[in-house]
């Protein structure tokens, strides 16, 4: 009797995961395979749903994407913008984490600072992009107004036609939106480290700087790696800010791969096949990083 009951309960395991499995197959797995296939076809043109496989040169789309100077530039931009935002972001987040978790000096108002620093992260990125576009307006935007009144500049500066300025601003927006998030993740990681380790080190006479580099950082290794890889995946898909801040300009300086894919597929000649090939190239790059994350998390889960 008991045996039979146990068997019949297993049924519910399948039954209850069925909605997830169906939704996943229909809306995730099938589109993924479809995208991969489209990369090998001649599918283009607005609203076109008929296509043929390229039998002569199956990799034609992939080759033409990889030879497209705009794609190469967008890939370079994406990596550059990500690095330009991640290094200051992780540095500041680590510094704030060290301050907020210091055993010797308790800083008051931490709750308030956390709420304020995290806040930009929750605001619609599209709105943030347009807001910064207005803030950096030429010739009479608020930033120019500030720089002129304080005497830093004598004539207004046109941020939107300068490639370096545009890249710096996009990287800054990303940094500004994400350092608070990273800080909260790191602080919660530090709070998870056993206090006894710190006490022992303090008895041995270690100062704050030594504690930070010899105890905090090594113990945060997994979380730092997790932050690094998730930030990288997010960075490789950067779309909202570069798309709406300066529409990928000036002169493609803020064109990211996601904006490139969007432009290929949904503007001009609607090259779905090229966009699909570019997506798959990005997919492969991201899959490699996901693999690394997966290995990390599985190890952690088994240790639980």
């Amino acid at each position: 009797m008991k045996q039979r009951k146990g068997f019949s309960y297993a049924r519910y395991g399948y039954l209850f995961s069925l909605p997830f499995i169906v939704a996943f197959c229909v809306f995730s797995l099938y589109p993924t395979i479809y995208t991969a296939l489209l990369g090998f076809t001649d599918c283009k043109g607005l609203g076109n749903t008929t296509w043929h496989f390229l039998t002569d040169e199956p990799f034609k789309n992939f080759v033409s994407v990889l030879q497209n100077p705009s794609f190469i530039k967008s890939l370079g931009n994406t990596v550059k913008l990500w690095i330009m935002n991640f290094i200051p972001q992780i540095t500041l987040a680590l510094l704030l984490t060290a301050w907020f978790t210091s055993h010797r000096h308790k800083l008051a108002g931490q709750g308030f600072f956390k709420v304020v620093f995290y806040m930009p992260n929750i605001i619609t990125a599209a709105s943030v992009a347009i807001l910064f576009n207005a803030l950096f307006g030429y010739p009479t935007g608020p930033v120019n107004d500030l720089l002129l009144t304080t005497g830093v500049l004598s004539t207004p500066f046109n941020f939107s036609i300068n490639a370096t300025a545009a890249q710096l601003i996009v990287a800054f927006i990303q940094f500004w939106m994400w350092y608070g998030y990273t800080m909260i993740i790191l602080i919660s990681g530090v709070l998870g480290i056993s206090p006894e380790i710190y006490e022992a080190a303090e008895i041995d006479g270690a100062n704050d700087v030594q504690l930070f580099f010899q105890i905090t950082i090594p113990n945060l290794k997994t979380i730092l790696l997790y932050t690094l890889i998730t930030s990288m995946i997010g960075g490789l898909n950067m779309y909202d800010i570069p798309k709406l801040f300066l529409l990928g300009g000036p002169d493609n300086a803020t064109l990211t791969t996601s904006v490139f894919i969007y432009n290929q597929a949904f503007s001009g000649s609607y090259l779905y096949n090229r966009a699909a090939a570019a997506s798959m190239i990005m997919f492969l790059i991201i899959a490699v990083f996901s693999g690394v994350i997966f290995l990390l998390m599985r190890d952690k889960d088994e240790g639980r």
Binding site: Y9, G13, F16, T32, Y34, T124, N133, T140
Partner: protein
């Protein structure tokens, strides 16, 4: 020695507070400028774009804003339908899937969980071309269901809920419900779901916000003006028709950001705790 340490601590505090106050200004300033400029006329903004004194042009900015294509009420309603729909789908079905993983022993359970973790990190964006073509073929573009139904499968939420369930759902409770003759689906709804409430609330906030803020897929799928979501609507402010209407642009931004501000400051305690939890779980 003690004295040196004391002054050392004071110096540390001065530096730390200075940096924190500067960062606070950096976080808030863009929004303060936005709020104030939405009450100022375009002429005033062109004279001096930064002012700490609100002006009296709120209503005239509003009429300029609404006189064109920008329709915040429609955008708000559309975003609301999609976000509420996908949040409900994500939270309910993720809890159900996590329940299947925790409460039952079945073949393939481990493999299933491994697959969930594998696909967790893959963003929808890279497969969007196939998704668009598929939706186009079955005439689901400009249909909100195309943005709501995919949220039934939310691997990261399932992962989070499973971890929560492992630590806070006593399996004995389910056994005693069975003895009382409760059906399995009923047990899930009546016993497991109430216990899951804290985890569901946290996940609901993040799911809602990410759905509300999402731009890429809605831009691709929703081409009909009347279906535009708030982030697509915001993009219109970038267009030529508002080029010289600075006051109206700031007001449009304010209208899109204000609801999020209110929600954030009302729930900030839970949101910050939720972010921290994500870090520990991850």
């Amino acid at each position: 020695m003690k004295h040196a340490k004391h002054s050392n601590g004071t110096a540390f505090k001065i530096v730390a507070y200075t940096v924190c106050v500067l960062l606070t200004i950096l976080s808030l300033m863009p929004f303060i400028i936005m709020l104030i400029n939405s009450t100022r006329s375009t002429y005033e903004i062109q004279q001096h774009a930064i002012s700490l004194v609100p002006s009296t042009y709120l209503m005239s900015n509003l009429s300029v804003l609404l006189g064109k294509t920008f329709n915040p009420i429609r955008g708000f309603m559309n975003s609301m339908i999609i976000s509420v729909g996908s949040t409900a789908c994500t939270v309910y079905f993720s809890a159900l899937t996590a329940y299947a993983l925790v409460a039952y022993q079945w073949k393939g359970r481990k493999t299933f969980f491994t697959v969930i973790m594998c696909v967790m990190m893959i963003p929808a964006q890279v497969t969007s071309i196939g998704f668009y073509q598929f939706m186009y073929q079955i005439h689901m573009t400009n249909n909100f269901l195309a943005l709501i139904l995919p949220s039934i499968a939310a691997p990261a939420t399932v992962f989070f809920m499973r971890q929560f369930m492992l630590s806070s759902l006593p399996l004995e409770l389910l056994d005693s419900a069975r003895i009382d003759g409760s059906g399995e689906f009923n047990t899930f709804n009546r016993i497991a779901l109430p216990i899951m409430k804290p985890a569901m609330a946290t996940q609901a906030i993040f799911c809602f916000v990410s759905s509300w803020n999402s731009l890429f897929l809605p831009t691709i799928l929703l081409t009909d003006n009347s279906k535009y979501t708030m982030p697509i609507m915001v993009g219109l402010l970038r267009g030529d028709i508002y080029k010289t209407e600075h006051g109206a642009i700031y007001l449009g931004l304010t209208l899109t950001i204000l609801p999020l501000f209110i929600v954030y400051f009302a729930l900030s305690k839970y949101i910050i705790a939720g972010v921290a939890l994500g870090g520990v779980k991850g």
